[in-house]
Amino acid sequence: MSKQAIQWLYHELPRLVAQGLLTPEADAKLRAHYGPIEPARPARLAVIIFGVLGALLIGAGIMLVLAHNWEDLSRPVRAVLSFLPLVLAQGLAAWTMFNRPQSLAWREGAGALLFLMIGASISLVAQTYNISGDLPRFLLTWALLGLPVVYLLDAVVPALLYLWGITEWACHLRWEDGFAAGYWPLAALLLPLLALWLRAGRYRVRPTLLLWALCVSVTVAAGVTIERVLPGLWIMLYAGLFALMFLIGEFWYGAAEGFWARPLRHFGAAGVLVLAFLFTFEWPWKEIGWNYWYGGRFHHPAWRAIPDAVLGSLIPIAAIVLLGMTVRRKTPLGLLFGLAPILAILGYALASLTDTYAPSAGLFDLYLLVAGLWLLVSGIRINKQGQMNVGLLAITALLVARFFDSDLDFLLRGLLFIALGIAFLVANIVMLRRKGANHEQA
């Protein structure tokens, strides 16, 4: 159970005991079961944040100073200088590992600094010898040399920097028409660390932070690591990916509270809704499927399309398997968001077999409307203002997009906007009043 939930429980217990709903023994047993709540230590958190910020600023500063390019210095001097920041950062990391292994602030700060100094050192050598810009190679070397820092210092900031490095590497490689599927094994190198952190505490800050970063990184990588030989494959891939994120979040991180504590659930849900909105237009469905196979124009070896087949099938299948488990658990939101890959496959089949686009777009018009209404109504029923507003936003986006598609005059469009604005205001005022009333009753 999350810390917030236990706090809430401990807050409720005296009242429940006073009302006779719980015996004092049960109260004691519950407290023994969940244990004491660690008090939040804002001072410690501030030290960590400022330690990391300081390290990042010093690191960025050293890189900028080096980028200034001291041309008056001789080559041997510059060669020695290029090692200096790296050696100092290594020394600091070693000192931290053996003298302050328990201090998160030291570990995160030293880890961040060392990671940046690896890049600074390679950059200065490149500058001294006028080495040209093979940016992907530079990024990959930097990331791989920095990865052990993540494990040795057990720190999240170097892990985030590593993730940024390999994502950037994949994007640049793709830009240069290279084969970027190596991203996946590289990203998997972070999984043992994530597993360790999750085992120590699923709802702690560090695994949550890494999961947010992974959501963003994987979303970018899914697009840049496929070769796009099968037009429209992204439709099924992304629908599967976002649904999978949501369902994993719903299944294994259900007890977390608050927006930031549930990265997979919220990133996945936002992804499904944005994607569903895009799919209500006709452009994603145009010229997709086997009839438009890029094979002839694909001047790379055929094996380069393997990631397309693997990712394009595995991710939607995994999402659908989890959906099957959701049906048994009877969680309506899981069902709602988990349906996205099935509808995407259906839409894809319709568009590619018939070469008509309206039915697939219409399917998602209907889906987004149902999803929006569901979120709106269920949000009102369980008093969740955020969920209600997301529902309203989905319906608004859909209505606005369809009204701009059609040839309605400005008066009607204007009236629609006014009506939507009033709906937003009324719903939120009603919700706030209801929350206020509940608060007073309590």
Binding site: M63, N69, V125, A126, L145
Partner: protein, 191 residues
């Protein structure tokens, strides 16, 4: 081996690897600068910025075009080896392009730009030799000075490159026959 020693060993290996990469980069280039054959390339400096490595001038090395019989054997962005020679003015020329590194000859890796089948020409990009790092004041000054002087006096700018096998390192950039830093000092008003 206890856990502390194991971590120490791991850390030592990581430190060694992190130091080895820049150390190898330095050694490889020093070796080429010491033992390589020097070629002079006509060039044209342009001034962009690199977020990681600071200010540099972009060098457009010449020749940018190679006459080839088998133009159709080359396609866009293909890697090639430009086998180097020298003309009567001692400037570098490209004798031919090769798909694989030729043994015993100075050949620089390049990328094929576009091909002109009518003229039998292959356009090449000197992707490995296109940067010369300078300070943030001098890089734009070098570009402007080149542009101005080229218009007035039609003088050339050239770069010396050391080549050892297929490994090439830029040695220096010259304006009017003098190293660019010395030339800019001598012409402070030409910015």
């Amino acid at each position: 081996m206890n856990k502390r020693n194991l971590i120490l060993l791991g850390f030592a290996l990581v430190v060694a690897a992190q130091l080895a990469v820049p150390a190898w980069m330095i050694m490889e280039r020093e070796w080429t600068l010491r033992d390589g054959q020097v070629f002079k390339f006509k060039t044209r400096p342009i001034d962009p910025v690199d977020a990681f490595r600071g200010r540099y001038v972009w060098l457009g090395l010449e020749p940018g075009v190679v006459k080839m019989r088998d133009v159709n054997a080359w396609h866009y962005d293909q890697k090639a080896f430009a086998v180097l020679g020298t003309d009567t003015n001692e400037f570098a020329t490209v004798e031919r392009l090769e798909h694989k590194a030729p043994a015993g000859q100075a050949a620089v890796p390049v990328h094929v730009g576009w091909t002109d089948t009518k003229k039998g020409e292959v356009h090449i990009n000197w992707t490995g030799l296109d940067r010369f790092y300078m300070t943030e004041q001098k890089a734009p000054a070098a570009e402007i000075a080149y542009r101005e002087h080229n218009r007035r006096t039609n003088q050339t700018c050239h770069v010396t490159v050391c080549v050892r096998g297929t490994h090439a390192v830029i040695e220096d950039l010259f304006m009017d026959g003098r190293p660019i830093h010395a030339w800019l000092k001598a012409h402070p008003g030409d910015k």
